[in-house]
């Protein structure tokens, strides 16, 4: 990335006018995008999502004041790298939930964020933990709209009966992540 943008973004960030900073990250599955507001990590785009789409989503849902500025994402990139290398089981990143729908959807995602590394729960269980045991389909939709995948581990929610179920990044990616965590 260019020195010009880096200098501009640093000045803007100091001044408080850089609403969203993003960076790219190499993972075993391809290049991912991570984005953060001043509050915390707001968006992770998995390698199968085009970067431009993720940026449009951010501009639309958070703010159009978006620049590439990896310095704000040092912690997120480091923790994700450690996770993919098998050296980290818990993320300690502040999260900004504003790209998830408030209410039931967000409760499902918050409950999912507490499922530990290497464990899985079912969609019904996720719905129950969010306060509506019978809303397993809605829980599936909530997880499908997860703006912060991997860090909010929606891949740890699977079908009852053993099938791993859908995943925004594709079923192979879900299998890869569960395999990495020794959950399969």
């Amino acid at each position: 990335m260019s020195e010009f943008v880096n200098r501009l973004a640093a000045r803007a960030s100091d001044e408080g006018v850089l609403d969203v900073a993003y960076a790219t990250l190499d993972t075993p599955l391809g290049t991912a995008l991570v984005a953060a507001t001043r509050r915390g990590l707001v968006r992770v785009a998995l390698p199968n999502e085009p970067l431009e789409y993720a940026l449009l989503d951010i501009a639309d849902g958070v703010s159009p004041r978006v620049l590439e500025f990896p310095a704000r994402l040092d912690d997120a990139r480091r923790e994700l790298e450690e996770y993919f290398e098998g050296r980290r089981q818990r993320f300690e990143l502040p999260l900004d939930w504003r790209l998830s729908h408030p209410g039931f959807y967000r409760r499902v995602l918050r409950a999912t964020a507490r499922v530990p590394f290497g464990e899985v729960i079912t969609y019904s269980e996720a719905a129950a933990r969010a306060g509506s045991p019978r809303a397993f389909r809605a829980a599936g939709s909530a997880l499908g709209s997860n703006p912060i995948p991997i860090v909010v581990p929606c891949h740890r929610v699977v079908r009852s009966g053993g099938a791993i179920g859908d995943y925004g990044g594709g079923p192979e990616m879900k299998r890869f992540l569960l395999d990495l965590e020794g959950a399969l």
Binding site: F4, V5, R7, L8, R11, A12, E15, V17, L18, Y22, E52, L55, L56, I58, A59, D60, S63, P64, R65, V66, L67, E68
Partner: protein, 173 residues
């Protein structure tokens, strides 16, 4: 439906080179870089209030204002760079003489010195028309004038530049 603003990064990627060309024409290559930073920082501050359909004219309006500010603060400094030729030389020394339309071969440098000598309105118009390749309507939008006024400004500027070119030829004889 209201058109959404694109992510600022995309807007920046699209406009960085033309705005740089404009500021080089207005200020010379050395000062252009600082002014380019100030221009896009000001744009980022105001971005949420920008009109999505008119971003092109909008960024050049900001750039022109910043170039005028820059010019003023430069004239106030202890060692003003009043001589446009010196501007060009400094750019050449900084090693920026290589690239493209505003590269400073000796012949070019004389022409750009003449451009730097134009009154600000005419200079902005002629740079936007020929270094940035805007249409007259867009030049007018960027400078807050009518298309006709933009055309007249460019016309006046070209007349002066032709006269300078004639003088240069005389001097070379």
């Amino acid at each position: 439906m209201a058109q959404a603003l694109p992510p600022f990064q995309g807007f920046l990627d699209e406009h960085l080179d033309p705005v740089r060309a404009f500021l080089r024409g207005m200020l010379g290559p050395t000062d252009a870089e600082d002014c380019l930073q100030d221009t896009f920082l000001a744009a980022l501050r105001a971005y949420p209030r920008a009109e999505p359909r008119n971003l092109h004219a909008w960024i050049f309006t900001i750039a022109r204002r910043k170039a005028i500010d820059h010019h003023r603060s430069r004239s106030r400094r202890a060692t003003p760079v009043a001589d446009p030729g010196e501007l060009i030389d400094r750019g050449a020394v900084a090693g920026e003489a290589r690239d493209g339309a505003l590269g400073m071969s000796p012949r070019h440098s004389a022409i750009w010195a003449a451009v730097a000598d134009l009154p600000p309105g005419q200079r902005a118009a002629v740079v936007l028309r020929f270094a940035v390749d805007l249409r007259y309507r867009e030049v007018g939008e960027a400078l807050g004038t009518s298309e006709d006024a933009a055309r007249r400004n460019v016309h006046e500027a070209l007349k002066k530049l032709r006269a300078s070119a004639e003088e240069l030829k005389e001097m070379a004889r």
